[in-house]
Symmetry: C2
Subunit: 220 residues, 2 copies
């Protein structure tokens, strides 16, 4: 009875639209309540103004919906990171941009972020092909590029990327949990993490005394 709206029935051939509404509602509920268990079929139905059994046209059960929300979130994270990485030309700036995008992804929907990584242990017996660990691969790639370009002296990019990821994950989960804590600005903490763990160094080989007039015009 207490529905959000008297939803208009989809037209013929457009029934699949409801599936994405269901996922969006599940996403919203997960974020609002902070609890995976609050994502119930009845709550989803109330949220979008349908009857609960209508959901079964699109998903076989509740578990599949939560799984789909989490899977979608991992894909979204992957795209967000790729976009951030591709926006910077210099390797270290690229690494930093990727890390910042990671933190922003977490900050935007902290509850969803937490559930993304907390779910694994519950569902342990299901050996997924793990596209979930993807963000780590991007991070290793970005750090390795820094090493290749001579702006990082890391001699164990995988190990160092692990430490960086751990710190990013810690920030993404702890920062929203402790709003009363005297947090420094996000970028301040990020720079502390990177300067401590990425082994950043200025490229020193060229040894040109001073940059001459650049190839590009000074203005524009």
């Amino acid at each position: 009875m207490p529905r959000t709206a008297a939803r208009q029935r989809n037209r013929r051939g457009e029934g699949a639209k409801l599936a994405s509404d269901i996922l969006a509602a599940a996403n919203a509920l997960l974020e609002e309540t902070g609890s995976e268990d609050a994502v119930t079929l009845r709550a989803i139905a109330r949220h979008i103004g349908i009857a609960a059994p209508s959901i079964y046209e699109h998903f076989p059960d509740r578990e599949t919906i939560v799984e789909a929300v989490v899977d979608t979130a991992f894909v979204e994270l992957h795209h967000t990171l790729q976009e951030a990485l591709s926006g910077e030309p210099e390797p270290f700036a690229r690494l930093r941009a990727g890390c910042l995008a990671y933190l922003q992804f977490g900050a935007e929907r902290p509850n969803r972020y937490r559930v993304m990584f907390a779910r694994h242990q519950h569902i342990a017996p299901n050996p997924r092909p793990s596209p979930r660990v993807d963000p780590f691969e991007l991070l290793v790639g970005a750090l390795t590029d820094c090493v290749k370009a001579g702006v990082s002296t890391s001699n164990d990019p995988v190990g160092d990327a692990t430490a960086i990821w751990v710190a990013l994950h810690g920030y993404a989960t702890l920062h929203p949990s402790l709003p009363g804590f005297p947090w420094p600005a996000t970028e301040t903490t990020l720079d502390r993490i990177l300067s401590g763990l990425a082994h950043h160094t200025e490229k020193t080989r060229p040894r040109t005394r001073r940059p001459r007039a650049k190839t590009r015009d000074a203005k524009r």
Copy 2:
């Protein structure tokens, strides 16, 4: 009906014993299921072989029990850290021992650890005096001691301790969630974190060529 055991009724004056059994059962359920919502009065009752309403002699409602479990866990963490810190004479070794104890506390009951810090946001309107942030104060103290003793060059111990805490928290939550991930040894990652973020340095001022016979006897 499916009780763990036909529990013996407590003798007169010993009724309060049940209270600690209830907390222990709640603790166990939280860790086993990984879900705060699975800590139900009926599950607790089944676990220790009593009737569910018996719980009301000791706790006014379900929420209070979960709260007590979390509060107890914070106190336990505090003691664990203090013990670890007091076991080492040198400031940097003390800092490291505290951080390692923190990681071990998380590793021992990862689900409880996660819930400890995830609960805050749900209960936001309740402004606790926050003994919860205690572990951070110990961390700041340990790092400050390193600076005073000349074995850390940190010029912002609070900010650096924040970065270290974030990394420890990230490890404590991510490590149990991704058992398939190629984790380096815990101490390897810890040392990477500390060497990157604690600004550790050997004490250089004294410049004694070689330590003379110590004040204490060599053997006890």
